[in-house]
Amino acid sequence: MTKRVIEASHAIAIGAKLTRPDVIPMYPITPQTHVVEDLAQFINNGEMKCAMIDVESEHSAASAFLGSIAAGSRTFTATSSQGLLLMYEVLPIVSGMRLPGVMAVANRAVSAPISIWNDHSDAVSARDQGWIQLWVESSQEALDTVIQGVKISEDKGVMLPLMVCFDGFTLSHVFEQVDVPDQKTVDKFLPKFSLKHKLDIKNPKTFGPIGFPNSYMYFKKQQQDAMITSLDVIKKVNKDFKKSFGRSYGSGLLDLYKMGDADYAVLGMGTLCGTARVTIDKLRKQGKKVGMIKVRSLRPFPEKELQVAVKNLKALAVIDRHISLGQEGPLVTDVRSAIYCNDLTVNGYIAGLGGMDITVKLFEKVFSDLEKGKQNGSWLFD
């Protein structure tokens, strides 16, 4: 293991390199571009033996990702915002065909107005397409989650594609100290890539056939069962990762901060959790019993674990960095549905859209809302 000061994009690229992908189809888009550049450089320098496919769009990147996995290759890609939207048609095909592979998403707002800055609208709005989604808070977690992601995705009981979601700019371009695992340990941690069925001219099979009304629904049920199975696999891989690398992230599904005796808590995903930690430390010094729940796994959503985590709370605030226009933030909808029986006040806040800062001051306002017994959230403008 070597300590280095790098940005999360570089950490993601190193993580991908350590998992030894055979193929990387990629199309650059801000703020994911550094990931593509770094991987291209690794290949060019001979540090990595891998076929990079320069595609003409993200739709092609996703299609090549699909085809390459089906042909039996470990495959990696990355995208962001409009790029993910252009991939959209292919996303449920990859998951429906049960092809395992990791894609990093540098989260960025979607147009219009045009915004290259961070929020969660791109990946959150793709949550129903059958991909596991793990959301990370730091560069270290970004690197580690790419490695964990490969193992989770390729688990025989799971066999689903997986997105590693990391905040654009707020994380992708931020330099932090990162422990870079050595290749040997990663090689030991990850099994060899293998598929039960792959494209093979010597042994022809049909991939992606039609599902008639008497079969389609059975295949969807299999996908849902695999998602439910992945809850335990994510936890197990997180534990095993600790044994091999000395680090883990909460349970793998949720990461709790000072929740032991907390009366009030905030819940969110990604880098805003770092700001929440700082606010909580500050408020704890003033004697306030506050804590945080970081949702690491948005899909599958860890309902049962969340029910336990909020058991002793008086009120909870959910911070959504995306809005389902015409409804509320999707995260707060998921949380409310999961803890319906807990009889707890849950306020939904919309914050940080299109790169607007989420500051300590905003978190202080949220905690003071909870303390005052306010029964609804609001839009948090910095």
């Binding site: 092809l99 022809p204 059975y218 295949f219």
Partner: protein, 93 residues
């Protein structure tokens, strides 16, 4: 849709080739094309255009024959035939 014993292989992979033989697209037919062999000039244009490869050429007699298990009744052959020797009839089932 007839009920068949189904194999729900992960990812809907069909593990053996040739499974489309089990789908009798002839079930879809509303109109039945019928070749009048006495007028047929054996140009084989119908054989070329049939989208379901449901028209076969008998090697001995050199005649064209329609396989009604797979002919879906699109009538492209009827339209194509230069001597108009393929008639259409409403399918009676």
């Amino acid at each position: 849709m007839k009920k068949k014993k189904q194999n729900f292989e992960q990812g809907a992979v069909v593990t053996k080739p040739g499974s489309s033989k089990n789908y009798h697209t002839g079930d879809w037919r509303v109109f039945r094309p019928i070749i009048d062999q006495s007028k047929c000039i054996k140009c084989y244009q119908c054989w070329q255009v049939c989208p379901d490869a449901a028209i076969r050429i008998d090697k001995k007699t050199e005649r064209v024959e329609i396989d009604y298990d797979y002919c879906k009744g699109c009538l492209i052959c009827v339209k194509q035939c230069p001597v108009k020797c393929i008639a259409k009839e409403v399918e009676k089932k």
